[in-house]
């Protein structure tokens, strides 16, 4: 097949790191990535699994690819949630998810853009500083509404009025998506129950911009620097994040650029600490059998497996049944890496497959500590009309500590407030 002379091979190679270029050649094509890939399980094409993409990338940085193959490579590159399962099973430990993100950015720098849906989404993040395309003034409204509805013990204060030892970072989804605002409210309530002195940035809270990194926007490093500067200017030292995607961004992606600046904890890490210190009293029983879904950004990407499980096991009456794939082998729900935008049908199939795995356990609910996974898994239950309930881990804690702040109460109160 004729090579596409227009493909700027040197530019693409320059966008990758030395190690990544070695990795591309080191792959022995054993195919373990293919066996475990949750996207390949739904669309079995070689170009989707890491082996296929590595093969294409190797040829691209060498001499370019022919038209059809080039198209196939691009499709495969974006038909991936960058969940990192292939990294875990790779005998060479190739850091695949990092490679795909870097390859996307390298291609963009070389003049080969992302799919249209991703470009629009990234543009919205840049323009509105959130991924929902809503005005920033709406970002912290959940806190006021929750206080007025009696869902909080005290009003949540803004950082500029009260710079507290801890900043609670809700993220775009829990701030703007009405179906997910319960996560922010419950996080705040749990922090209040533990007596944590915290505040929020409210309208000043920026989008973590990690989606820019996930989807290969070369401007990510600059955006990350701006946010780190903002946190530094505000004198923020500890950030508690309830979204696994934001956590990956703030904790890992920012650290790659500006190491060791601010302590970033995921909510589950912080709540686990509070429970072990005896500051959060889990007084009520929650008689339920649940299974736990490890978000990729928390588990495989940051090795946080124990803390959420410790939280669940601390709740009286609650029993945890593991799915056959859990921990480092947890199947991705497909919500990451821009897959939901690039290939929504594949994402839906992936989340449905995960729900099937959860149903196999016989549990009555699936629990996750990530609002994005919560959305994805809910879509999965809808796709296969499953009766399985999907909850954020906060819901389990709230049921034990302060049932009046349960999800249903929050949704009802917010709907009433909006006159729905």
């Amino acid at each position: 097949m004729a090579k596409d002379k227009a493909v700027p091979t040197d530019k693409i190679a320059a966008g990758l790191t030395w190690r990544q270029l070695v990795e591309i050649e080191a792959c022995a094509r054993c195919g373990e990535c293919l066996v475990w890939c949750p996207a390949y399980a739904q669309d079995p094409r070689e170009s989707i699994c890491s082996r296929g993409k590595l093969g294409y990338l190797k040829r691209i940085v060498k001499s370019g690819l022919g038209g059809e193959e080039h198209k196939e490579f691009l499709e495969g590159l974006y038909e991936c949630s960058a969940c990192g399962q292939c990294h875990i099973v790779c005998p060479l430990r190739i850091n695949t998810h990092e490679l795909w993100e870097q390859a996307r950015a390298a291609l963009v720098k070389a003049g080969i853009p992302q799919p249209e849906a991703l470009i629009k989404h990234l543009a919205a993040i840049r323009e509105f500083n959130n991924s929902y395309g809503k005005p920033q003034t709406e970002r912290g409204l959940w806190a006021g509404k929750a206080w007025q509805a009696g869902l909080l013990k005290e009003p949540v204060r803004l950082w500029k009025e009260h710079p507290a030892p801890v900043l609670y970072f809700a993220g775009c989804t829990a701030s703007f998506d009405s179906a997910m605002q319960a996560v922010a409210v419950q996080s705040a309530r749990l922090l209040q129950e533990a007596g944590t002195d915290f505040s929020i940035l409210g309208p000043d809270e920026p989008c973590c911009a990690s989606k820019l990194r996930r989807m290969g926007d070369p401007g990510f490093a600059d955006e990350a620097r701006k946010r780190v500067d903002l946190f530094r200017e505000q004198g923020i030292r500890t950030i508690v994040v309830s979204c696994a995607g934001c956590f990956k961004g703030l904790h890992s992606d920012y650290a790659d650029i500006l190491p060791g600046t601010i302590e970033v904890l995921h909510l589950t890490e912080y709540l686990d600490r509070l429970i072990r210190e005896g500051r959060l009293n889990l007084r009520g029983r929650v008689p339920m059998q649940v299974t736990y879904h490890d978000p990729c950004h928390l588990g495989r990407h940051n090795q946080i497996y124990l803390e959420p499980r410790r939280i669940l096991s601390a709740i009286q009456g609650l029993s945890l049944i593991e799915m056959r794939r859990h921990g480092p082998f947890s199947s991705c729900c497909g919500m990451g890496g821009g897959l939901k935008l690039a290939k929504p049908d594949i994402q839906k199939k992936m989340s449905a497959a995960r729900i099937c795995q959860a149903e196999e356990t016989g549990a009555e609910a699936i629990v996750t500590p990530c609002q994005t996974c919560l959305m994805g898994l809910t879509m999965g239950t809808e796709a296969i009309s499953s009766g399985l309930k999907v909850y954020h881990i906060n819901e389990m804690l709230v049921r034990s500590i302060c049932p009046e702040a349960g999800r249903e109460h929050i949704e009802k109160a917010f709907a009433d407030a909006e006159g729905r």
Partner: protein, 269 residues
């Protein structure tokens, strides 16, 4: 003790030198290609105990492969150790020969090539030859008989297994024919080579020519690996240890080093 038959040594060494130069040039071109990428400051100080532990376990014991599939691990271990130990044997013999030429081998060359150390060479060569042979047969069986879902149907991979198999078999055939032509006591230690002694030996009219041709096939195919290596899957034998070390050291830096118990889980398919 050794049977004398014509061996084109000059041609062989010329081939080895050219092959080596070609390998060096190919690796240089690759290095140049990799240098187009951003450099990430790697420091030898990053190689701390957990990184070294992972490196040793993954490179020499191939722990990850073991947890994924015991059969695959066994095949890979056979090829890895068979190939490595036979290469070490050839290299050691070559180094001792060079040292003996300048009388710096302390008599080791004579000891191993026709002294009491000769049986050791026989046992070493036959044992690791057998291991390599088993690995190649296993790899080809897996590819063509068991056909697991992830097998890449790349002709170069099949060629590599067949190539290593041919090289090993030609080595045993050469040894068998040599033992048949002039048996001696240390040949008892060539426990696999003896099985390859041709029963039709008595009829052969010119053993020397046959031995020479077998030697050419075996020695030249062995040296040709130098040329084939950068274009084949074998390249991972050089790059995998490097990549494992680099990745493990970065995991250590990022504090996300993992050691999964893969056997507890089952893949999607």
């Amino acid at each position: 003790m050794e049977v004398i038959y014509p061996k084109p040594w000059v041609l062989f060494w010329l081939f080895v030198i050219c092959g080596h130069l070609y390998l060096d040039y190919s690796l240089y071109l690759r290095w140049k290609g990799w240098s187009r990428g951003e450099t990430t400051g790697f420091s030898i100080r990053r190689l701390k105990a957990p990184v070294l532990k992972i490196w040793l376990c993954e490179v020499f014991v191939q722990r990850q492969l073991f947890s994924l599939s015991v059969i695959r691990w066994l095949i890979h271990q056979c090829i890895f150790w068979g190939f490595l130990c036979l290469t070490l044997l050839s290299l050691s013999k070559f180094i001792l020969l060079l040292l003996s030429m300048i009388s710096l081998d302390a008599g080791l060359h004579a000891y191993f090539s026709n002294g009491t150390g000769y049986p050791f060479i026989k046992v070493w060569g036959d044992f690791f030859g057998l291991i390599l042979l088993a690995g190649c047969v296993g790899a080809l069986s897996r590819r063509f008989v068991f056909r697991p879902v992830q097998t890449a149907h790349d002709q170069t991979d099949t060629f590599l297994s067949a190539y290593l198999l041919l090289m090993t078999l030609s080595g045993f055939m050469l040894e068998g024919l040599r033992i048949a032509s002039s048996p001696s006591d240390p040949d008892l230690y060539a426990f696999i080579g003896r099985l390859f002694m041709p029963s039709w030996f008595g009829i052969a009219s010119d053993t020397g020519i046959l031995l020479a041709w077998l030697w050419i096939v075996h020695a030249f195919s062995g040296a040709a690996i130098l040329i084939y290596l950068p274009h084949s899957k074998l390249l991972h034998s050089l790059l995998a240890p490097l990549v494992i070390a680099l990745n493990a050291s970065e995991e250590q830096e990022r504090k996300d080093m993992y050691w999964p118990k893969t056997k507890q889980y089952r893949p999607t398919k």
